[in-house]
Symmetry: C2
Subunit: 599 residues, 2 copies
């Protein structure tokens, strides 16, 4: 089927093909002959997919679009401060070939005008056996993800006509902005402008910037985030020359155009757009390039103000654990403790991205909990992205909360948040039911008399057996056998036939299966709970293992068969009890995963 994005770009390409304003760059003879009908639009994503419409594999010279990349290499070579001493980052309000040097120091206004770009090129020295230009060509190639080359014809033409740029270089030398013979840098600058790219290359070079400096196809980290931040900032404020303000207002994407007809625009974190069309406007930018980028940005809401999503609260749900009790059966006294003190344990569920703003709303919420809240269950399973700043804030939050003598527990699957927060003694639970059970037990131990929570269960305590009489339970007990397991020992696995019903007297058992090649724990059972009621068959392989030492009473399949033969009443009572217990759990499970629908 046809991709709507490709259709959109194709329609845009067709519509803008009728836009015939402008002429190709005339100052350099080798470029004046460019075909004005050549037209490509590309869009590359941070995962490396490129939509290519039109003449996307036609090469042209990169010209001024090389400026941010060489500037980036200078930043990586010398650091921000050293480069800033040579080249300022202020928009000049002037055309690209204006002189724009500070009167006192000769410092060019920014690296996007020719003077600043030549200064940046002069900063690139040879290293590792390669001369300066080889390193410039190399970084361009690494951004593009393929080996680029230079058009010797355009280079010769640039070198033969570039007197204004030679003058700029000499002027920069006079101010000691260029410290050596300016002939070398200006020649490298001509070569750099003559690097041949196609629209696909430009899109991927831009996508590398959008992707924080990592080339999305090769996976190489070409420059670091600090360099990317500076490159994109300068492109936003100075990239479109004397039109930069109007560009930022209308388009709001860092961008760079070149007189070769190329244009590259970047939406940080998301994508890059490139256009190739040789006819230029009076600013020296591709007419169709400007038009296409403006339309895509406006029609797809890519302006930096619009692309910022309105931050929601990171809090998805918040309730005292009494709103969602674990379902563990308690004696009346323990239940009373929970009724009275249950509000002291609260569950807060976070979701969405946890960057500064998300972490802020989470900590604000937690900070405002009343002092009576002793236990906080932080459910972070629905959190998407987390950055270091947010992790730092969450750690601070944990520290503040726990130094007040209160306890935090985290509910998480695999994740950076629990790696950080649960590195010490803060417990981690895979699901809310387990966490709530833990919180309930803490509350009962803290606020009830000692001994209210048994570390083990006797058969009459089992919820599953509650419909049975004491006599029936004693009868069953006589027919059961003890089993003990060491930590980690396998108790049951799928493929085994029905082995009877297992009653957990002490310890915990965990059931796991395999999903997407990962072993996944899906339930943990403790004293007073049963398992094994059905044969584990079909579907993904299931294993039930002891977590720590475990003591079980087992009503084996043979024992059940004997009951069915010998005592029909007991057999019926047993199966009715098991069925009722099972359906109670079905109903609990269904409601736990209930979703909101219009009905």
């Amino acid at each position: 089927m046809r991709s709507p994005i490709e259709e959109y770009l194709r329609t845009l390409h067709r519509e803008l093909s009728g836009l015939d304003d402008g002429v190709p760059f005339q100052n350099i003879p080798a470029m004046a002959a460019a075909d004005p009908d050549d037209f490509a639009i590309c869009l590359a994503t941070v995962d490396g997919h490129v939509y290519e419409i039109g003449d996307s594999r036609t090469e042209f010279t990169i010209q001024s679009i090389s400026k941010p990349f060489t500037y980036g290499l200078a930043l990586e070579d010398h650091g921000l401060d050293a480069v800033d001493r040579k080249i300022d980052v202020e928009p000049s309000g002037d055309a690209f070939n204006e002189i724009s040097l500070a009167r006192d120091t000769g410092r060019p206004a920014n690296p996007m005008i020719n003077a600043g770009a030549i200064a940046a090129t002069s900063l690139i020295k040879g290293s590792g056996g390669r001369d300066g230009f080889a390193r410039i060509l190399d970084i361009h190639s690494r951004f593009a993800g393929r080996s680029l080359s230079v058009s010797e014809r355009v280079f010769a033409s640039e070198a033969a006509t570039g007197f204004r740029n030679r003058a700029l270089a000499d002027l920069l030398r006079s101010f000691d902005i260029i410290e050596d013979d300016p002939a070398g840098p200006v020649e490298n600058y001509f070569r750099q402008c003559s690097i041949q790219v196609d629209a696909r290359d430009l899109a991927l070079m831009g996508a590398t910037l959008a992707n924080g400096g990592r080339q999305p196809v090769t996976g190489e980290q070409v420059v670091d985030m600090e360099t990317v931040q500076r490159m994109l900032s300068v492109m936003l404020t100075c990239g479109m020359y004397d039109d930069a303000g109007a560009w930022t207002s209308a388009v709001g994407l860092p961008a760079k155009s070149g007189v070769g007809g190329g244009l590259m625009a970047v939406l940080p974190g998301q994508l890059a757009i490139s256009v190739y069309s040789p006819p230029l406007d009076r600013h020296g930018s591709s007419v169709r390039g400007i038009a296409a980028t403006r339309r895509i940005a406006a029609e797809k809401s890519l302006h930096f103000v619009q692309a910022a999503r309105i931050g929601r609260s990171a809090i998805r749900e918040h309730y005292p654990i009494t709103d969602a009790p674990s379902g563990v059966r308690r004696n009346q006294e323990a239940a009373d403790v929970l009724t009275e003190h249950g509000h002291r344990a609260q569950l807060v569920e976070l979701h969405g991205d946890l960057l500064f703003a998300g972490a802020e709303s989470a900590t604000r919420h937690v900070s405002s909990l009343p002092e009576t809240v002793e236990i906080l269950l932080l459910d972070v399973r629905k959190v998407d992205e987390v950055n270091d700043v947010a992790l730092g804030i969450m750690e601070e939050l944990q520290r503040s909360f726990e130094t007040d003598g209160r306890r935090l527990a985290v509910i998480d699957d695999a994740g950076r948040i629990s790696d950080v927060l649960c590195a010490g003694s803060t417990p981690l639970f895979p699901g809310s039911t387990e966490a709530i059970e833990w919180a309930e037990e803490r509350l009962i131990r803290t606020h009830g008399r000692s001994g209210l929570i048994p570390d083990s269960a006797e058969l009459p305590d089992f919820a599953a057996l509650s419909p049975l009489t004491a006599e029936q339970i004693a009868d069953l007990d006589d027919r059961m056998e003890d089993r003990t397991f060491e930590d980690g020992e396998l108790i049951r696995r799928s493929g085994q036939k029905f082995g009877g019903v297992y009653f957990i007297l002490s310890g915990d058992v965990a059931a796991s299966t395999v999903r997407d090649g990962h072993r996944v724990r899906y339930t943990t059972l403790g004293p007073g709970m049963t398992f094994g009621e059905i044969a584990l068959g079909g579907g993904a392989p299931v294993r039930v293992r002891a977590q720590g030492p475990v003591v079980l009473r087992v009503l084996t399949a043979d024992a059940i068969e004997r009951i069915e033969r010998e005592d029909a009443t007991l057999a019926l009572a047993l199966w009715k009890a098991v069925a009722t217990d099972a359906y109670t759990r079905v109903e609990q499970n269904l409601q736990e995963v209930a979703i909101r629908v219009r009905i």
Copy 2:
């Protein structure tokens, strides 16, 4: 407990209190006496929370921070084009009080320098019985969320000393940028600069911009998104005067400072920072204001390049329905059809934000599905934010997919995506199990012989009864009664005692409960399925209703009691069957919600 964010800001405030550079604005006598030790830092979020540290309720005059707001009012009054004809949006590279008019037209370079700001003020006319200045004061007040007033003392002082601004106004008049007597606008401009705000006001004014023009406390949409985009763009490129480029590079937040000592910076979609500290640097910006904002932006990764999250694929999971069969029991022939053709139905689960980039990755994925895929189940329950652009792309995707003769179905709770995609005949399911069952039935009808899927079930078809012999089933059948229900009719509700087991012969029934005040459907059952095995008690209120006409066979509680008395073998077989069926469902449910944990 202490909020980590507040602690952070408090520490920053303490550390920067030692920064003693600069002096308060001296040119206006009424301002020269400002206390240089006054110092406030505020941070306001798009949900209207304000962190306030220091002298956050000390009033000072807004000065140049009024410029973007009056400009915004001019944009709302006249539209972008009319305002652009009077005031350009290009950074001037000059100080705030430079003349910076275009030589030919006299158009000021941008609305953040005095000339442009006075031009913007001149565009504000009286309306609705209020003069121009009353409207200027009003829009500032609406941004702040409270009634602001003017310092008459500072106004008098500004008016008595503002000869340079009068000169600018006269110059603007000479170019017809100001069309009436310039005395009125320049007086309004002095008044506007003398509006009194405190740091909390500035933070909320910025948060209104961050929030797309909606004041987060009052909820008023003060200006529209197009105006906000322009205001923030101009603040980013021109807001910090001749320091704008360095500001954008290092801080990357649209910002505005005023000689009154205020500074406001905005992270679109997220928050705003404000600082008040009178001592100014040589650019006329608060020294501590600049320092605090730079540190917060750097330390909390708020630069527009860093705050952009790297777009992930919107695809969370993708699998053929054969990987997660509905569990509906089929006859062998139907099961064979699914084995052979199950790959023709695929489920794609989306997550995260669905702005352009997310929608792009979703459509790319769907567009690349092989032609053999006839049915696409699109699960959008985990999608966070959706914008109009993404909705448009999803609609295009639907159109492309469905015109190829293929069927789309959506899995969603309440949401904008299903509102749009399911407006026509595209079915909507609340959960994946229901959607997969629908897909299976379509595949069986399309690729199997007719009649393979019965619209109704007979008792021997019921999975729950499969362990019983034909004779036992016939015996049960004799003891059951028929019940029929109309569409929407209530079949059972919680609080009723155990009413027996319900066998669905034809039609669908839906079980719902209440969560967070919303009625929530949590399961839908069809022919061949059973319900009612336990009394519905405790927890949230449950209702089971007919969806369309429904025919049931019911084994009532009385009938079951009779069986238990009269036929112990049948009773045992029945309860064993029910228990096994129930535990099969427990196991399915548990595994369906399984989560990945390290074990």
